[in-house]
Amino acid sequence: MGDALVHAVDDVTVAIRPKEFVALLGSSGSGKSTLLNLMAGLDRPTSGAIFAQGRNLAEMSSEDLAQHRNHTIGMVFQAFNLLPRMTLEENVELPLRLAEVDRDERPSRVREAVERVRLSARLTHRPSELSGGEQQRAALARALVNRPTILLADEPTGNLDSATGEAILHLLQEINESLGMTIVMVTHDRDRAARYAHRIVTMGDGKLLSDGNKI
């Protein structure tokens, strides 16, 4: 994995190194989610460049961006974004379907991801039958199943009570350490960011306010 260097529209230049756990801090509308979406390849910049593993996302075709989202990026959201009519197992399998992974290989990959988030007992449950923390863990398993190199988390604890949120952050930390996965987490909780992330990038009004400052 090469260096992940990010330019954003508002004159933002951020370089994120492999295996780093970066917290992207800022108030609502500061542009932190937009920056995350640009890194994910969900959005395109009007000018500038975003390099991930040596390739400029701004110049990729939409087909290549889809590949980037599927193989390089794993994403978790504040609203979990699980498909409500699918079971946990089916939700986690979805990225494997999109990646055209062999059918024979899928069950073990799903099991591995679900075990990592300690949700094996809930495989056949639908999202509505899971608690908020379980749903976010399921979303995390789905983000991990394709073994991406970068995990992007958009306010992953925003919809959870503090204890559950803490558990999710623990899990992220564990994934970062044991799998060596690069993590960029958007949050507005400076205290938690300070406790879990290696580095804090602060944004305000679309500008970079500070970088690397752990308070």
């Binding site: 599927n70 379907r97 999109l98």
Partner: protein, 461 residues
């Protein structure tokens, strides 16, 4: 995404909005059903007409006449001199030549004469007609009582029902009884010795030529022959174009020929021809199928004889049915077009409803192409199911119409018919058409879904 995964996801999505998708599919099914019902009626009626017409024995026949006797039949009259030059006499030699043409089943003259019969001691006058063996398959003999002639030279007779009623109050009881036919046999006058004996090889069954030789005349001798009644027929078969059902007592053609009954045109023939060899005023040529009529007709014309067939009539009939089918198809397609609007509506609604889901799929790595194919697959599955269901429904409608018609016909003592026909090509093309129409209806919704901005779609609640 692989096709199997795509299909699974599409099927899942279809199941999730079961009611709406079922109603849409039902709409397609009704469209396909109306198309199939209309076309099956068109095809069924066409098959029915073809069957009845080919059974009438008129559409697989060519009527041959010596050009000297040609009576026109609405054809442009040939110039008198040309006709005289080309005029060839229809004799046995010509008959055998025509019979040897490819695809010709049978060649026979028209034999019909008024005469008298004796039945249970009483005389009755009637008209006798010779019936060729090929007439057995004609529709006229379909519902007959008793049997058709056991062999082409059997001394058997079939009665037309009206004549049978004349003979007895219980026409059915006539079968198995005998009647005596009295007729005038044409006997040649003693011949002047013929210098050439080229006719010696002729079959003895027809010794006329040998006997008459160059003799210019004949005498008439009264004769009698006993016939065994074996059947009664309702309608009168058409033996030739000019003789729609004018025989009331039907005997095998070969027997009728051997009788050598004097016929009305013998006198004219005698006056006109120098030779008194057996000649025919006209011959009927039965062809294997109506499609071969044209080639046989051409071949006979090249031999120098006048021909007439009802081929032109079938041609215009086919045209009528083609136009008929076209219009039925257009009306059926209208229903399908309305149904395809239902697909567009359902899928556009599904995009609104599934905005978030599309956003999630894109975030997980689905390409625009995957989303487009997913919506296409959903439209295609609705088209396939609608097509299958619609063909079944259309077939049921056709069958119900046939059933109803047959109940109606039965009440009127008419034979049942197959009103609608759903051949395999129609099943296959109706389903294929349904899928194509559904996919076409899916183009707009699918590309709209594919172009959805994932960031906006994810923000959508």
């Amino acid at each position: 995404m692989k096709t199997r995964d795509l299909t699974e996801l599409a099927a899942r999505n279809l199941r999730e909005a079961l009611l709406r998708n079922s109603l849409t599919t039902l709409g397609i099914a009704v469209g396909v059903a109306s198309l199939v019902a209309m076309l099956s009626l068109g095809v069924g009626l066409q098959e029915l007409a073809n069957k009845k017409l080919s059974k009438s024995g008129l559409f697989d026949a060519v009527f041959v006449s010596s050009r000297a006797n040609q009576r026109g039949f609405g054809r442009p009259a040939q110039s008198e001199t040309a006709t005289r030059e080309a005029a060839k006499i229809l004799d046995d030699e010509a008959r055998q030549k025509i019979a040897a043409l490819p695809n010709v089943v049978e060649v026979y003259p028209e034999i019909r004469f008024p005469t008298e019969i004796q039945f249970e001691g009483k005389p009755y006058s009637t008209t006798v007609a010779g019936i060729p063996p090929s007439a057995k398959t004609e529709g006229a003999f379909d519902g007959m009582k008793g049997n058709f002639f056991s062999s082409p030279d059997a001394g058997e007779a079939i009665l037309q029902i009206e004549f049978a009623k004349d003979l007895s109050n219980q026409p059915d009881s006539l079968i198995g009884k005998n009647l005596v036919l009295r007729y005038a046999e044409r006997q040649a006058l003693p011949a002047e010795p013929s210098p050439k004996k080229s006719d010696a090889g002729k079959p003895p069954a027809n010794p006329t030529d040998e006997v008459t030789g160059q003799s210019p005349g004949f005498s008439i001798v009264p004769r009698e022959k006993t016939f065994h009644i074996i059947g009664i027929v309702e309608t009168e078969p058409a033996t030739s174009v000019g003789s729609f059902g004018r025989g009331r007592l039907l005997i095998p053609m070969q027997v009728a020929e051997i009788l050598r009954v004097a016929q009305a045109n013998d006198l004219r023939g005698l006056l006109r021809r120098s030779s008194s060899k057996q000649t025919y005023d006209s011959l009927t040529v039965r062809v294997k199928s109506p499609s071969q009529v044209k080639s046989v007709e051409d071949a006979i014309q090249r031999m120098g004889y006048g021909t007439f067939s009802l081929l032109d009539a079938t041609k215009s009939l086919r045209l009528v049915f083609a136009v008929f089918d076209l219009f039925l198809g257009i009306f059926g397609s209208l229903a399908l077009a309305v149904a395809s609007l239902g697909i567009v509506n359902t899928l556009v609604m599904a995009i609104l409803e599934r905005r978030r889901e599309i956003g999630i799929l894109k975030a997980l790595g689905a390409a625009d192409r995957d989303i487009r194919r997913l919506f296409f697959a959903e439209a295609g599955v609705m088209g396939l199911l609608g097509g299958i269901f619609g063909v079944t429904l259309g077939w049921l409608i056709g069958t119900a119409l046939t059933f109803g018609t047959n109940v109606y016909l039965h009440k009127r003592d008419l034979p049942p018919i197959d009103l609608s026909s759903v051949p395999w090509w129609m099943v296959a093309s109706a389903i294929a058409f349904s899928i194509v129409v559904s996919l076409a209806a899916g183009i707009y919704p699918a590309s709209r879904a594919a172009k959805l901005n994932p960031v906006e779609a994810l923000r959508y609640e």
